[in-house]
């Protein structure tokens, strides 16, 4: 009888290797299987938790699939109108400079309807963090073309593939904001493998530190997927992302003054 180890005996604090981050609520995520949004949520939650920022944080959520981010993170949040998150964040951070402020935005939100808000907040060097989830599509509304949709890529509003002659070229917002003097740290990451998850987490943690030091706008793009609207299985989607998105949106830092200075030494 003593030989049988009950489940209760296994679940002991000393055996614990993984747990739900306290900053995540009990709410079930509504994302499709394989979607990158949930992973980035968790990274954010972990950092807020580990850095002890829960009581300091105001998050601005977008209009897009991640519209309910405020259900999942146990932090104070504001839901912006489509594309306007950086405007809200500007005011919030200026009124409460000691707080940690971030926006979380999709590519339609940040790079189409909110282009102006994004560029001007970055250009003013507003001291908050922008997390930009680039899945190359309008996820929430059912797979329409986004400004980031790749050339030739099919969507419900580019049913014959994106024709750059009439629909324009994909907009590399991250490259654009990197040229603005107001941005301090600009990087492009992904969350499709554990190694990449760790890198993204490191990038976001860095952005948190820079915000504390009043360095200006930090911009973290996460090249992500949308299995549902790409009409692929999660595994296919990640493979497609590696083969098609990464060559166009290469991962890595676009701007990090501190890294440069150490490298130059």
């Amino acid at each position: 009888m003593a030989e049988v180890t009950g489940i209760k005996e296994i679940i002991k604090p000393e055996n614990l290797v993984y747990k739900r981050t306290s900053v995540m609520t009990d709410e079930t995520l509504h994302y499709c299987p394989g979607c990158g949004h949930g992973t980035v949520h968790r990274i954010l939650a972990e950092i807020i938790d580990e850095e002890g920022l829960q009581s300091e944080t105001i998050g601005i959520t977008p209009v897009g699939c991640s519209v309910f981010l405020y259900h999942y993170l146990d932090i104070d949040s504001q839901e912006a109108a489509h594309g306007r998150a950086p405007a809200l964040a500007t005011a919030i951070k200026r009124l409460m400079p000691e707080k940690f402020v971030f926006t979380y935005q999709g590519d339609g939100d940040l790079a189409a309807i909110g282009t102006s808000e994004t560029i001007h907040a970055c250009n003013r060097g507003e001291n908050f963090l922008i997390i930009f989830i680039n899945n190359g599509i309008y996820g929430m509304t059912g797979g329409q073309m986004a400004p980031t949709t790749l050339p030739g890529m099919k969507s419900s509003t580019s049913p014959f593939g994106r024709d750059v002659k009439t629909m324009g070229n994909p907009l590399k917002m991250t490259d654009i904001v990197a040229t603005l003097p107001g941005t301090y740290y600009v990087t492009r990451q992904s969350v499709h493998t554990p190694a990449n998850v760790r890198k993204t987490k490191k990038a976001i943690r860095k952005a948190v530190q820079y915000q504390k030091l009043n360095k200006g706008t930090c911009f973290v793009e996460v090249v992500s997927n949308c299995p549902s609207n790409w009409k692929m299985t999660p595994v296919q989607a990640n493979k497609w992302m590696e083969e098609n998105m990464f060559p166009f949106y290469p991962l890595g830092d676009l701007k990090d003054p501190e890294k440069q200075s150490t490298e130059q030494k």
Binding site: G108, I113, P159
Partner: protein, 356 residues
Amino acid sequence: MERELRLMKGNEAVAEAAIRAGADGYFGYPITPQSEILEYLMGANPMETTGMVVLQAESEVAAINMVYGGAGCGKKVMTSSSSPGISLKQEGITYIAGSELPCLIVNVVRGGPGLGTIQPAQSDYFQAVKGGGHGDYHLIVLAPASVQEMADFVDLGFELAFKYRNPVMMLSDGAIGQMMEKVWLSPQKERSKTVPEWATTGKPPTRERNIITSLELNPDNQEKFNQKLVEKYNRIRENEVRFEEFQCSDADYLLVAYGTSARICQKSVQLARGEGLKVGLLRPITLFPFPSKRLSELAEKVSLMISVEMSAGQMVEDVLLSVNGKVPVYHYGRMGGIVPTPDEVVAFLKSKIIGG
């Protein structure tokens, strides 16, 4: 040429009808429950057939300003959106009204305020009928109650827009936009080659330059312009009222409803008549101009009216004004994307008959 029978969603019917009406341009931004309009047009690729321009804009603000530019060139241009996007367009709409330009704006209404719900509602009545943007202006507002009318009102909308040089809004809702019904499509019209004399298409030596503007710094002139608009709106009130009556001739009680609510109320009329209640339905087809005269006449015959709307009570104010106290007027409404059922309406009617 023969009309063609198809089964389509209301949104698809708008898109197909736009091509067939010979529209020159459509500019839109995705939003539920009307994204099918843009999707359909992108799939149909009318540039190859009629030469119609279709463009996904970066925002609703951009889309309506594209419409403004196209309309100023005398082109048949349109946009569509749903409530939050229509709010964004209001600035452009008032400039278009102030510059007296023709265009068609389709609002497939969803419940608000704010992001609200993506389910059908009629809560944008005030916004559509009473202004929306700043300044003294009116849109001509058409309220389709079927997929057929979503198609027909594209053509009618353009016709009225050009006749009066005034923006026209088709005020639909998520239910009519998403549902499929039979629709008879008109044959393909040629895109118009005539250029209105006011259009900015490049000044030939033969005419004065054309300027599209809504700016007038001299108050005397601005007031004259406002007066001119008032006269135009009065002409529209005189000539363009459209409505449909359903079993009104012997009615003791009158339901007033437009769009989806009117479809529901038709069934309510049948149900109530089955129980021996003489109920009729007046369905405004134009919300501006509103069928006030007819309602005022009917107020002499019926003993009460109920305005049935998917809102907190908006059109009811126009019913009250029309009836001017002659009979009691009630509002029955559901909100938040909930659509009233026919028997709910009948139950409400009965409660008012007994109560009143």
